[in-house]
Point group: C2
Chain length 220, copies 2
């Protein structure tokens, strides 16, 4: 699976979040990380060719006043023309991911929360874009208050992000487990502690299922 990550951020070098995500994506073979703000004005034909080559398109940005920064809007206006993205429906069937970070805690974004609006509500334009162009929308990967995250939280984020860029259904447990088994087979990565945790979790889940099964059999 080929993934194109479209990053909208006006000051990439001043963003620890984006630097972390970039470093996390770098070892991935089939992932292209494309920074929009450095690519303006856009070479439209080239941008469109990149989109056509990708199986997954990931839009990655911080929330500024509850929306993406200007460069993403400019890119959509310039590159996602009717002739390219709507009428021929040539993007249909690809998946669309959203990696969104913000400086408030996750729970601020809900009815009655400090922001009073949910992330899903704020990302409604991308759901509409996916529907219009035939893309399969993935649940967003949200990153709240990266600055306050512990080393362990960041290691977990690295895994979650790599899975989001490379796994067919990144929010499914079985797909995550398969990803871990592949990592184990390929490398001796510093994230082995987290891997052990996840495998343990899978083990626990399997044991719990087996116990339920045994109880059901006794009841027969």
């Amino acid at each position: 699976m080929k993934t194109l990550v479209i990053v909208s951020h006006p000051e990439l070098s001043n963003s620890p979040t984006q630097q972390f995500l970039k470093a996390s994506a770098t070892p991935l073979a089939d992932v292209t990380w494309h920074h929009l703000d450095a690519a303006q004005p856009f070479a439209v034909a080239e941008e469109q060719a990149q989109l056509l080559k990708a199986d997954r398109i990931v839009l990655e940005f911080p929330l500024y006043w509850y929306a993406a920064p200007a460069s993403l809007h400019q890119w959509l206006a310039d590159v996602w023309t009717d002739e390219f993205a709507v009428r021929p429906q040539q993007l249909r069937g690809k998946s669309l991911g959203l990696v969104v970070n913000f400086s408030q805690p996750e729970k601020a974004y809900q009815l009655g929360g400090a922001e009073g609006v949910s992330i899903s509500e704020l990302l409604a334009p991308y759901a509409a874009l996916a529907r219009k162009t035939g893309l399969k929308l993935l649940a967003p990967l949200t990153i709240a208050q990266f600055a306050y995250q512990t080393e362990k939280q960041r290691a977990a984020l690295l895994v979650q992000y790599q899975q989001y860029l490379t796994v067919d259904q990144p929010q499914h447990f079985d797909a995550q487990a398969a990803w871990w088994l592949q990592q184990l087979a390929n490398s001796t990565d510093p994230t082995l502690t987290i891997l052990a945790d996840t495998l343990q979790q899978r083990q626990d889940r399997l044991e719990s299922l087996q116990q339920t099964l045994a109880e059901l059999k006794q009841g027969d």
Copy 2:
């Protein structure tokens, strides 16, 4: 009441909608019409001073991929800093208007409609911005398919737009009627036909109310 209209559109001279709105706003004494795309990069202190002087701030833009064009996002990021708009709450109490145009019919923007999402959902970021900064949000003035509007529809739009920029509560019938009476007193405008219609409507409504009142009295 002083009104500041903030217009985000990359090609103003190619937009019949924006040209029409600009001409409609021109005769209004206390209205400043400010085109963002011509003002980049923004003179932040000056932009902020204009905002402080206004009683009503109107954001005016077409929907591009279900959101405002890039210049509005850039302006919000540059001008509406935390230090200016959030911490001191110095915009609190002003009103925030939204004038939004699009090329699909109004009914496309609903559950099950061609776009599948409502204008209110798409404008959620501005509701959140108003809440955060203490602005009073007005119901948006939406303009669907301006290109297909008849002369009569456009005359009605002119009136609606002028009221939106100058009337305290532009969606209240009484405020609209008061506006009309003022127009009548001041001028001999080409929109007199529409004015006559509206006064007739008010007359009909008054008659209907009087009839209801009479029936209620008989029932006593």
